[in-house]
Every structure is written in C-alpha cells, then in structure tokens.
Amino acid sequence: MMELSSDHFNKLSQQIYIRLGLQFEEKKSYFLQKRVEKRMAVLGFVDPQEYVFLLCYADSEGKEMQALANLITTNETYMFREFEQLEAFANCCLPEVLSAKQSRGEQKLRIWSAGCSSGEEPYSLAIILREIFPQSQYWDCEIVATDIDENVLAQAAAARYWWRSVREVPPEYLEKHFIQEGERYTIRPNTASMVRFQHLNLHDRMSMRAMRNFDFVFCRNVLIYFDDLSRKSAVDHFYNSLNHGGYLFLGHSESVGRISSAFKLKRMDTHLVYVKE
C-alpha cells in the first residue's frame, strides 16, 4: 500500500488548485491518496513520485488531470447542497444586494444558475428567495437556470424529485414548498414558477454574451470539467453577465483566483465569495 508523503500531497494539492481551482486541506489527504492510488494502479505506477511528475510536468493536454478530477469530484446533486455557502448567500450577499437596489429604487433581481442539471440548485435558490425576501412576489425576480442537456432540463421543469434529492431541505421548507406523494416531492407551483429553464452551452460565446444583467451567478462544481481555456472563457462571460456589485458562486472548494483576477475576493461570514466591483 503506497503512502503519500506530505511533500507529495503538497505538490498534488497545489497542482489541483492551479488547474482545477479545487482546494484540498491536509485533512483530506487520505481522500486524495485513495484516488491517486487508483490512478496509479491504472497507470501501473508504484512510486507516487512518478505520478506527481506526470501530473505536474508531463500532462500538457490535461488528460490525467481530468481522469483524477473525475475521481475527486462528485456528480451527486441534491437540494441545499453545500448548505453553508447558501447560508452566506442568504444571510450576507442577498441582503446586501437587495438593500443597494432598494436605495436606488430598483425592484428587479436576476439570478443565473449555470449548469443547473436536474434543477436542484435553482429551486433551492427560489425557496431561499421566498423565505428570506417575502417581498419578492412584488418584485421582478427571475432565476434563469441553464444547462447544455435538454433531457435534464425537461426533468428539471417537471419539478418532481425523489426523497434522496430533498433530504437536506430543512423540514419547515419541505412542508411549505413541496407537495409530497409517497417518496416523490413536487415543488409547489408558486415557488417553481420563479425558475425559468433555458438551454445554453457554456462554450457558446455568442449565447453567453446574451446573458446579461444578473445580480448572482451560481456555477458550482461545473467548471472543473472544463479545460483551462474554456474555464477562463466561461469565467470571463460570468464577469460580463454580472451587474457591478454582483456575486459569483463556485463550488465551496473551487477557486476563481487561478482562473481570473477580475473578481474581488470577499469574506462573508466563514465563506469567501467573488464580487464584481
């Protein structure tokens, strides 16, 4: 059984941060080691140093990093995933943006959920919005949820989920915003109607340019599947799609710092968020 030394762990985690924007703390060393072990077995490596070299200096096309990314990321999606990050949105960022809008006499709020998959994220945002900001029903509030896959969009529009997808929804929200039929949960129409689903390829620069005037962009755990150039291009488009003072949310362990320096990093409670000044 191979062991990752702290030296190897540091080099690997640094490389993963630079190329995927994912941060690994020391506490996650075993998690990373098991995934690296798996890749080493596939490649026939015995010494972790060989793998560190491959990833850091001999992976110009990024194929090995992608293979590792597939192991270190999770495809599972469910409502209220990364709860603390949503708390930072609900308790800090949203009130700040709303207060600025109110002082300017504006009554329009736009949120973009990019790479929304089967809709768990945009519906979570809709629930939060209704809970935190009841006046939203009198405002022009819109959550635009986009994905490249038309099949998942159709699934999302149906707003019906199995128990597993709603297991992290706070019980009071579950009761208020869902209709339960056995193990199936359907989002109530007045909450579901806040979300508009739209087909969009994040690589399509012309379609991306049409996405403008958003106050929040959520693109969590999506960019890790892109190559460097596409990731940079997508983040540039997010920047242009946001209003000044708007926020970009990536997955909680993802970082935009290595992709773009255009955003300003801001601490909100225990969370770091990216703002367009």
């Binding site: 191979m2 030394s5 020391e26 998690f31 010494d47 200096y57 242009n240």
Partner: protein, 351 residues
C-alpha cells in the same frame, strides 16, 4: 465572418464588456493583423478583466508574431504583463524555443532567468542547448533556476553535470537546488557521488539536511533508513524525516522501520500539529507494532479525535494481519461513525 477592423475599434470602447468581446473576437479571427492592436492596447488597458481577455486572444492566434510580442513584454515594468507573457510563451510550447534561444543569448540576466522559467514547462529536446548554456551562466540565479528546472522536467541527461555542481564551497542555494534536482533525476550512484563530494551526513551544515534527506528518500537504498532515522531528534526536520522514510518504504515495502523512531513517532501523533504528519507517523508505527507499548498506542489511536489518525491506525493494524489486531479493529467497528474511516479500515477502494 468576424470584421477585424470593427473589433480593433472596439478595443478602445468605453464599455468594459465591449472591449472584452472585441479581444475575444480578434482571438477567434486568428489573424496576424490582430496581434499589433492587442499588444498596443495592453499597457493602457485599465481593466484587469480586459487584459486577461487580451492575453486569451493572443493565445488563440497561431502566428509567430505573438511569440515575438510576448518576448518584448518580458522587459515590461508591469509585473502582471511579465508574468502573463511567461504563461503565453509556455503555452506556445515548442514553437517558442528558437525565439527563446535567441532571447537567452541576447538578453540580460533577468531575461535569461525568464527564459529558463519558461523552459520549465517545455519538455522538448530543443531545450537542451539552452540548458547547457544556462548551467555555465555567469549569473548564479540563472544557474540555480536551470538546475531546478532540469529536476522538475526530469532531464536525466544532465544528471552528471548537476552532480558536478555539488562541491564544498559552492553557494549553499546552488547545492540545495542540485540535491533537490538529483532527487528527481538522480539514481543510486548520485547518492554515493554526493557523499563522496560532501562527506557524511552528520558533518553537513543544517541547511542542507532537508534537501539531502529528500535525495535519500527518493534515491537511497533500504540500508540508508538508519542514517535518516538518526535525524529524527531535530523537531524542524520531523516532516522531512517522515517523508524520507515514507518514500523509502514506498519503494521497499519490506523495509524495517528503525526502532529508535518509535518514541519520536508517538510524539508526533500526540502533538497533533498536522493531520498529515500524524497520519504518516501512525502508519510508520505500523512497522513497529512488536516494539514495547506500540501496539497499545496504535490501538488507542483508533479512538483519536483526528480522523486521519484513526484511518492510519486502522490501516496499520489491518496490515499487521494478526488475530489481536483484527480483534481490536472489530471491537471499534461498531462505534466508528465516519464512512471514510470505516471504508479505510475495511480496506475498500475509493468510490
């Protein structure tokens, strides 16, 4: 069809998004005529986002003019432009090498160092001549940068040249860089060469120990573990010693962990400074379970508050494969709640 002239005009638009889109479109147009306006705009562009878009566009234009333009930016007073130019040249890969060769020969020491920094990402054989010149450079920083780069890019053909740089009286940073590089490109003979040149480990100045231990871990033999273990008493070297023993154990799975490591390893686990070091320590203690008190200590680690330590303790006991160790693990299985720990104890692979 992208109208280049229109895009070039928009590079000076008052709207930030328009300037970004203009840069992006020029990149997609992929015409040499777009290079000049992009380079001209860079120093006067106030927005960081647009500057990044301009570099992104330059990256997409397949013309040597981009390489020449990027080289000119290496002399800029603006560190952002210099760093981006380095990235751009790296991204151009082998195409940039003839230009880098010329830039190395004509440039001052700063530029020569930048050139080596760029080569650090290019494993191409065309870089050998530049490296050869860099190793004889009159500027020490250029030589050190070249040595580091040779190690990182695993240019084994330079192994002997790097070994020859290690001589008593050489600049300490050069010796450290050379030891580090040999940990990548050296072999067992390099360890002997280093000992012959610098003398026994105990006589080395303290600043050389981390690099020396790294070399032993990477290229030493099973017998070298004793020399490594002797250095554990120095707290500042604990991490380096653990890394070296772990590296040796990875290469020689039957390596006997020296018994004098038992107490220091226990101390590292107990201090809880770093989860990773504590994990490494408890894993190495797995090789010392027959020593007095170690089995009980590792068994207690199954209840440690730090998850990595619990994982390492379970792995060490499972690896021991004795009835006593298996029984300890079975006793703890019921009360352990963490899924990852349970999987590690059961020896399951990552999902």
């Amino acid at each position: 069809m992208i109208e280049l002239r229109e895009c070039v005009d928009k590079l000076t638009s008052g709207d930030e998004a328009d300037r970004m889109y203009a840069a992006e479109d020029i990149g997609f147009a992929n015409q040499a005529a777009g290079i000049g306006p992009l380079l001209k705009r860079l120093p006067e562009e106030p927005s960081r986002a647009v500057r990044e878009a301009i570099f992104g566009a330059l990256l997409q234009i397949e013309h040597d003019g981009v390489i020449a333009g990027a080289l000119s930016l290496l002399d800029s007073d603006d560190s952002y432009l210099r760093n981006q130019a380095v990235e751009l040249l790296r991204a151009k890969g082998a195409l940039a090498i003839p230009y880098l060769d010329r830039a190395f020969q004509d440039g001052n020491s700063d530029r020569r160092k930048f050139v080596i920094d760029i080569l650090a990402r290019l494993g191409d054989s065309g870089t050998f001549e530049i490296y050869g010149r860099a190793l004889k450079d009159p500027d020490l920083n250029v030589v050190i940068t070249a040595v580091e780069s040779l190690g990182n890019t695993r240019q084994t053909r330079f192994r002997e040249t790097v070994e020859e740089l290690i001589v008593p009286g050489a600049h300490p940073m050069l010796i450290c860089a050379s030891l580090d590089a040999l940990a990548q490109i050296g072999d067992a003979a390099s360890v002997h060469a280093v000992r012959a040149r610098l003398g026994p480990a105990g006589g080395l100045p303290g600043y050389l120990w981390p690099a020396y231990l790294k070399l032993i871990g990477a290229k030493g033999g099973p017998d070298d573990v004793r020399e490594v273990a002797e250095m554990i008493g120095r707290e500042e070297l604990e991490g380096t010693v653990l890394n070296a023993v772990t590296a040796l154990r990875n290469r020689y799975p039957n390596l006997k962990v020296p018994s004098e490591l038992a107490q220091p390893l226990r101390n590292i686990v107990s201090r809880q400074n770093s989860p990773l070091l504590a994990y490494q320590a408890v894993r190495l203690l797995g090789g010392l379970l027959r020593e007095s008190g170690i089995f009980d200590f590792v068994e207690r680690c199954l209840e440690h508050s730090e998850k990595s330590v619990r994982i390492g303790a379970g792995q060490s006991l499972r690896e021991a494969g004795t009835e006593e160790a298996e029984a300890s693990l079975r006793r703890r299985f019921g009360s352990e709640m963490d899924e990852e720990v349970l999987q590690a104890w059961a020896g399951k692979s990552a999902e």
